[in-house]
């Protein structure tokens, strides 16, 4: 019973920590990775809360696709700032 309650709380605390890293870190790639970590931890949390459907969506879209899209956009912005 204790294990059942501690793991979601621990996951939530880790998510909050990753969120602070995503907001306050100076380097943008690190912030993007931290944002992806939030999604990954959230998908594990959903699995613990008995919602495997949502966990699947969160893992593939939240931590996979959106992280990649953020990196593409970051690369694009950097390139355009560099040429100006």
């Amino acid at each position: 019973m204790i294990i059942n309650n501690t793991i979601p709380v621990l996951l939530g605390l880790m998510m909050i920590m990753a969120a602070f890293v995503a907001i306050y870190h100076k380097k943008l790639p690190v912030a993007i990775i931290a944002a992806g970590t939030i999604s990954l931890l959230a998908s594990i949390l959903y699995l613990f809360l008995a919602a495997p459907d949502v966990a699947m969506t969160e893992a593939s879209i939240g931590s996979g696709l959106s992280t990649i899209i953020f990196f593409y956009v970051l690369n694009k912005i950097r390139k355009e700032n560099g040429t100006q």
Binding site: M56, T57, S60, I61, G64, L65, I68, I69, Y72
Partner: protein, 233 residues
């Protein structure tokens, strides 16, 4: 000074509004009438679904799923509108080759990921997952393939046609529900079959396949468009 006091007043006002909400909250010991309708066993059996989630997502709340897919379609078309589809040879820059580890791993993983996505879509009415999840997994496989091989030719036309056909078929299935069964997206237009077998639950597997194709091709198109812009000089 005046601005700060305004902020303070707004914050205090929000605090008052939300604190009444928090204090008046006392939980629900029983489901409300709509949720009770969904969770009753005979209502799940009425649409021949293996579990509650697919009964609600595809049949009772199928219209919401259609809305979600439409929003995704809008997003994909707006992104496609703003990004370039093709580059001429002069515009293309030399992209550095991906590492051997990534290339080799993607050769093994991409087919397995696509197979798993198809499995999730086809078994959507029996196991957790469904069209949306399976489509997202297939799109993740496309991302891996694109990362491993930046010069991969991406057939946008094929994905556009696939997406349009599956979207139209989804709506047509819904209209067939009005004509031949109880209402929009009613799955009883096809025989229900035995609960738990692969071909069962009426139209749910077909609708899930259309949703999966649509979501998979839309997300792949978004990533493909971004990849083309990435290779621009």
């Amino acid at each position: 000074m005046v601005r700060n006091s305004f902020r303070l007043i707004i914050l205090v006002g929000l605090l008052v509004i939300f604190s009444t909400l928090v204090w008046s909250f006392n939980g629900n010991n029983e489901l409300n009438s709509l949720a009770q309708f969904y969770t009753q066993q005979e209502n799940i059996e009425a649409v021949n679904a293996a579990n509650l989630v697919s009964a609600v997502v595809v049949t009772y709340r199928g219209f919401d799923t259609l809305g979600e897919v439409t929003i995704l379609f809008l997003t994909a078309s707006i992104i496609g509108f703003f990004l370039k589809k093709k580059l001429s040879d002069t515009q293309r820059k030399e992209v550095r080759e991906s590492s051997d580890i990534l290339v080799t791993a993607s050769k093994i993983l991409v087919p397995v990921m696509i197979l798993f996505g198809v499995y999730v879509i086809i078994n959507g009415h029996l196991t957790p997952g469904g069209g949306f999840q399976g489509g997202a997994i297939i799109a993740s496989a496309m991302v891996l393939a694109l990362l491993a091989n930046p010069h991969m030719k991406f057939n946008h036309q094929l994905f556009n046609v696939l997406e349009s056909i599956s979207g139209v078929s989804f709506v047509l299935m819904g209209i067939a529900g009005i004509v031949y069964a109880g209402g929009f997206l009613d799955n009883r237009i096809l025989p229900g079959g035995e609960v738990g077998t692969l071909i069962s639950a009426g139209a749910i597997p077909l609708i899930y396949i259309f949703i999966g194709l649509k979501v998979g091709s839309e997300l792949s198109n978004i990533v493909g468009n971004l990849q083309v812009t990435q290779n621009e000089q």
